[in-house]
Symmetry: C2
Subunit: 348 residues, 2 copies
């Protein structure tokens, strides 16, 4: 797994040595960070802003497979997955904590690779790493990230604000992360059967990257601010479009009509889904891990949204008694169901 | 391990069903909690207070052994361990997030037991559970808690503020959690050798409870406020007195004289350490997990502190060139070293 020549034993550093080593180059850049790593707790200053907190856990064998996940990518993704939740509140992400549990047989260089990805994401998204925990683990790699952000009260967007007639919008395209995962899983099996065969991912960079190195959509939050559109409800697409849209409808007590033909799919997602005999629409609806933003806007905002290349209008909100429906390309209407990625069912 | 008759399969609920089930009775009590569980992020309001954030990870086989740790105690302890860090900043703890990864074979009743402990701790310490993550785990029980608190800027106490001549104080007594652990480990071995022998913990309730159900010292923070003493530096004792005192000295760039005879030990700790042929002082210095508060105060505050039953003065801060020293009962002076609990060395 690790091609590094160098292997430094973590035990030789001890827990505090390891923390010092990993945090010695931290640069704090956020005015809201008063004190980061190095005390019992971090100290933050948000003055009259509201504080946003979100947390996610990533476990080896459930959320990632080290057979095909470079540690630097994993560090990067761990941060993105979390920042995405802050953006989904229409907030500004400002800090993260990263806790990691790993075998004491993990070489220091591997931990460093992971943190390289963490730092890269922090730098790119302008957030400070302000704390965390490191521990030995008897059970593979365990990662827990908490992200902290802020917003003016009037800017916070919840899941429950969708109104009848609102337009349902989604950023980017969907289903890519899931088809990328199918590809990586296939190549892993081939490799396990014959280690001499090199993985064939040629021409598949986009969907592989969607799986291994997703980007949280800070740019969409910035864009919405710029064009002065405040969504009425918002959520990030971590479990598949269907599941997320149902969350918005349930929490807003509304129904929806979602148009299959409008769901944005990258050609590579489409083609790869076909290769695997998968329905591309199902990949978008139930695949998950795209980390796009799903949101609703008032119809009055249509003109501001309509020519934005990276935002697609995929349906509209209805009264609750109409239910949540998918209108297929053939014009049939089906009740929308969440097959979404379920950590308990699919990996139990 | 589980004596419950009832066993409900978690898979039958799914992840969202499980979250709904576990969070349906949450009562938010903190004025600073605007939105808790149920959106992409929690929303908090601290107005002109500074925000404190701390996080800890607890892993099965490293931090706890389910052979002798009731899940309710584990839930309770997971919260205490984290709140302790907020109190160590002289802050008021107000919210926690709890993430848990567990085998899908874990019965729902077991998860409920864990959360009973979580809720009990939250209620007793007046904090809101505002978020978290649940996941399947292929690798035993994984717990990650983030605690959030607040303080006025002028009240925050860091580790680095100790001055020459300051008195070193500690709350409660030390070494109990560690001797309690020795006892539990011994009884586990006896039980594994002969399951018909019942564990003999009679008369040892105090130290067993110190290990399994520690209490964060919110009362000490309240007391210090009441008697108008602001510590110059503070840390909680999670890794043993020696390690924590060295943190304060290193970060304050000072030395210290610690008096062995002053270190507060409960008689049961003393007696049990002797039973195990352990030096009771070493149990206090290096044992860890006592979750007491170690702090320094100005000499001018001596009169306010001296008759407080639950605070012991154990030494004083010196100039850095004097080093960090332990003065033994026999009057010998030894350099203080941190053998502290090291998750990498002791469990690798």
């Amino acid at each position: 797994m690790f091609e590094n020549e160098e292997r430094t034993n973590i035990e030789s550093l001890g827990e505090f040595g390891l923390i010092d080593y990993l945090t010695k180059n931290i640069k704090l850049t956020q005015p809201s960070t008063i004190k980061g790593v190095g005390d019992d707790a971090a100290v933050l200053n948000f003055e009259n802003k509201k504080v946003l907190i979100s947390t996610d856990m990533l476990l080896e064998g459930i959320h990632f497979d080290l057979a095909y996940t470079p540690l630097k990518h994993l560090g990067y993704k761990s941060i993105q997955v979390n920042l995405s939740d802050i953006y989904a509140m229409n907030g500004i992400a400002s800090q993260v904590t990263v806790s990691i549990g790993m075998s004491s047989k993990f070489p220091l260089e591997a931990v460093e690779e992971f943190y390289e990805g963490v730092y890269l994401a922090c730098e790119k998204y302008n957030v400070d790493l302000i704390g965390g925990d490191t521990s030995a683990s008897k059970q593979g790699l365990v990662i827990s990230v908490t992200s902290i952000g802020y917003a003016d009260e009037k800017d916070v967007v919840y899941r429950n604000g969708a109104e009848e007639g609102d337009l349902i919008c989604v950023s980017g395209d969907l289903g890519g992360a899931y088809t990328g995962l199918q590809l990586l899983e296939r190549e892993k099996l081939i490799y396990l059967e014959n280690p001499n065969i090199q993985p064939d991912l040629e021409g598949k960079d986009y969907i592989v990257e969607r799986q291994l190195k997703p980007e949280a959509r800070k740019d969409i939050i910035d864009l919405l601010k710029e064009i002065e559109v405040k969504p009425t409800a918002m959520i990030d697409v971590s479990d598949g479009l269907a599941s997320e849209l149902l969350h918005i409808c349930r929490q807003s007590n509304k129904g929806c009509s979602l148009y299959e033909e409008k769901i944005p799919l990258d050609p590579m997602t489409f083609e790869t889904a076909r290769e695997f005999n998968l329905d591309p629409t199902v990949c978008a609806l139930s695949g998950g891990e795209d980390y796009e933003l799903l949101f609703t806007v008032k119809q009055a905002d249509y003109d501001k949204i309509k020519f934005k290349m990276d935002i697609t209008i995929i349906g509209y909100i209805t009264e609750p008694s109409a239910g949540c429906n998918l209108v297929t390309k053939a014009g049939n209407v089906h009740a929308l169901t969440a097959q979404g990625w379920n950590a308990f069912k699919s990996n139990g």
